[in-house]
Each structure stands twice: as C-alpha cells, then as structure tokens.
Amino acid sequence: MSAALTPLASEEFHAPGLGIFDWPPLVEGQAWFNKPALLAFTGGLLVIAFAFAAFSRPKLVPRGVQNVGELAYEFVREQIARPNLGKDSDRWMPLLFTMFLFVWIMNLFGSIIFIQFPVMSRIGYPAVLAIGVWVLVMYLGIKNQGPIKFFTNVMFPPGLPTWIYFLVAPIELISTFFLRHITHAIRLFATMMAGHLIIALFSEVGWHFLFVQLTPLGAPVGVLGVVMTILLTAFELFIQALQAYVFALLTAMFINDALHAAH
C-alpha cells in the first residue's frame, strides 16, 4: 500500500505512485469488497439518508434539512437542468439530482479525514455511470428521432458544401456517439486521480522531511509540503464539486441532444 503508512521502511524519499489507487480486499477472499467499494456503498447510503431527511415529509414552509435539500435541488434544477433541458427539466431532475449528489459525495471522500480516497478516481465508477448515460441517450435518441434519423441528424448538419460531409460525417459519428461519452467518464476519473495523487505527493513530502528525516535543509521543503497540502485540499474541494456539476451538466446536455435534433 502507500509508502506513507510505512515511513521507516526506507531512508530515501519515494514519491507515491499509482499504487495508492490499488486496494486489497477488506475481507479475505472477497476481492471485489475493497475500500472503494465500501465507500461507494457508504456514499450511496449518505445520499439516501440526506435525501430522506430532507424530502421524506416535505413541508410547504421548509425547515432544517429540507432547506439544505431544496438549495441542492434548486441548484441542480436552475444550473444544470433548465439551461439544457428547458421544459423537460422536471422529468429528468430525479436522475440529474441523484447523479450530482452521488458523484459529489464520492469525490468528497477524497478530502474527508481518515477516508481520504475519492471513489471516482477508480475508472470503473465513472465508467459505469457514463455507460448508463450512453445506453439511456441511445434509447432516447432512437425513440424520439428514429433509428436512422438520430444518427444522420448529427452526421449531416445542413448548410455545408457536399464534399465536406465526407470529413464531417465520420468525425461527428465517432465524437458524438462514442468519444464524448468516453471523455465523460475519463474527465471525472482523471481529475480525481490527479488531485489525489498531487495531495498524496505533498503529504508524503511533508511527512518525509519533517518526521522521517528531519534535517536543516529538508525542513523548509517539508513545511512547503504541508502548506501545499492544505492549499491543494481547499482547491480539491472546489474541483470535487465542479466535476460533479460538470458530470451532471453533460448528462443533461446529452439527454437534450437525444430528445431533440441538435441542428
């Protein structure tokens, strides 16, 4: 596991590598049940608990948790759903609201002390969400625009010279129906992974130069590591929310493109 947990093993500084994203099973023999899996369940339960506390018995005049829940709901509705989906917003709010909160709490685990692991930095979690969105978008597009029109509407935008369609059609086909769904997952995964890696690096610097090997020359470097860890943690909190927002926003955009021909 992480070198941070075995500080006395070596006198030399080692930057944490991709190994910090690999987790052994928590229960012997159950390879799938590792820390990210436990966090995924915990995060799901937290989202359910929060939504239940806020919305199980909604009052006309909101009190307590319901205020917070409505704040989150209205943020998703006004900033994610309405700009993309317009009057279809209310129909897709259950998915978008759940997705925003689910992704956010998964990301947030990266900055919660003792947990400190963003679940979305394991590609499988964003991937399954992106695949789900892809399946949904394909279904909606074929249902609303027809099995051929759905593709040709995107591949042959009107008003271009004929020869350029030889170029545009394959690019649009690949980018709209495959690439943007792949990047949908990778964007979230990569930002979470990079953020976690950088924070792990600066934490390791602080730990190594201030505790493992305290030297007059190394101490300032260690202090810098600690300061950077604090600053980057604050930055990560912002990125975590931003990526959850972007993930839900793109989902809304893809759904709208499937419901209505883009051009």
Binding site: A40, G43, L60, M93, R122, G124, L129
Partner: protein, 179 residues
C-alpha cells in the same frame, strides 16, 4: 525501486468489472430511492408552494380590488351626502328667508294696524274732547258773557244759537290758522 511497483500491474484506465458492478448497483439503489421516491415528493411540494404563493397573490389582488370598490362606494356615498346636505342647507336658507319675509310682512301689517287703531282712537278721543270742550266752552262763555253783560241769557234757544255762531266763527278762524 519502489516496493509497491510490483503491485502496480493494473492499468488505471482499464475499468475493473467488479467495481463497475458495485458502482452501478450503488447508483441504481440511490437512483431508485432518491430519484423515484423522494424527488417527486419535493417536486410536488415545490409545485404546491408555487400554487400557494400564486393563490395568495391572487387573493391579495382580489382583496385589493374589493377594497378599491368599497372605497369608491364610500366616496360616492360621501359625495352624495355632501350634495344632499348642501341641497338641504340651501332649502333651509330659502325657507328661512321666506319665513323671515313673512314675519316681517306680518309685523309690518300688525304695526300698521296698531298705528291705524291708535290714530282712530286718537281721532275719537280728540272728537270727544272737542265735543266736550265745545260744551264746556259754551257754558263757560255763556257764564262769562252773562256775568259781563249782567243779564242771564235764559232763552235757551237764543243762547245756543249765539254760542254756536261764536264757536263756528272761532272754528273757522282756528282752522284757517291751522292750515
């Protein structure tokens, strides 16, 4: 080299099927409970709140309109009452003036009547006094003449004629002087 390098066999870009199942399952459970059961409740509540607010606004507008109507009615009544009052005042003034005129008329008539009565009384008194005086003067004159002349004018008829002549002369002279 790094101790953990050996464990870094897995490519971070290749999704692990187990965690996709875990993530998908967790998300679907959350989607069902939150998206299917809880979000519709808050959507319903938000819609009801919009209704309540819009209903409240409508009720307020209705009340406003009602108040405006009542105010207008009140103002109309007030104007009508003012108009009525001024009409009554005018009428009363007219009546008062009429009554005053009548009273003045009556008083003047009464005064005239009194003055006339007084004049008549005075005239009567004067006549009476005049007649009395005439008799008295006659008697006195006869007495005086009798004394002066020394003879008694016993002859009644003559006596009277003499006196009457005298008095007529006196009267003629007197009235000529008065005129």
């Amino acid at each position: 080299m790094y101790v953990l390098a050996a464990e870094e066999a897995s490519n971070p870009l290749v999704p692990n099927v187990a965690e996709m199942v875990v993530g998908g399952f967790a998300f679907l459970v959350v989607l069902f409970i939150v998206g299917r059961l809880l979000v519709p409740r808050i959507q319903k509540t938000l819609a009801e709140r919009v209704d309540a607010i819009e209903g409240g606004l409508k009720r307020a507008a209705d009340a406003q309109e009602e108040a405006q109507r009542a105010l207008k009615q009140y103002r109309d009544q007030l104007a009508e009452a003012r108009h009525e009052a001024s009409r009554l005042r005018e009428e009363a003034r007219e009546q008062g003036a009429q009554i005053k005129a009548e009273l003045r008329e009556e008083a003047q008539a009464e005064a005239r009547r009194l003055i006339e009565a007084a004049h008549a009384q005075i005239e009567a008194d004067r006549q009476q006094a005049f007649a009395q005086l005439r008799t008295e003067i006659g008697r006195l004159s006869v007495d005086l003449a009798g004394r002066i002349v020394g003879e008694s004018l016993e002859d009644e008829a003559r006596q009277r004629r003499t006196v009457d002549r005298f008095l007529e002369e006196l009267e003629a002279g007197n009235s000529a002087a008065v005129r």
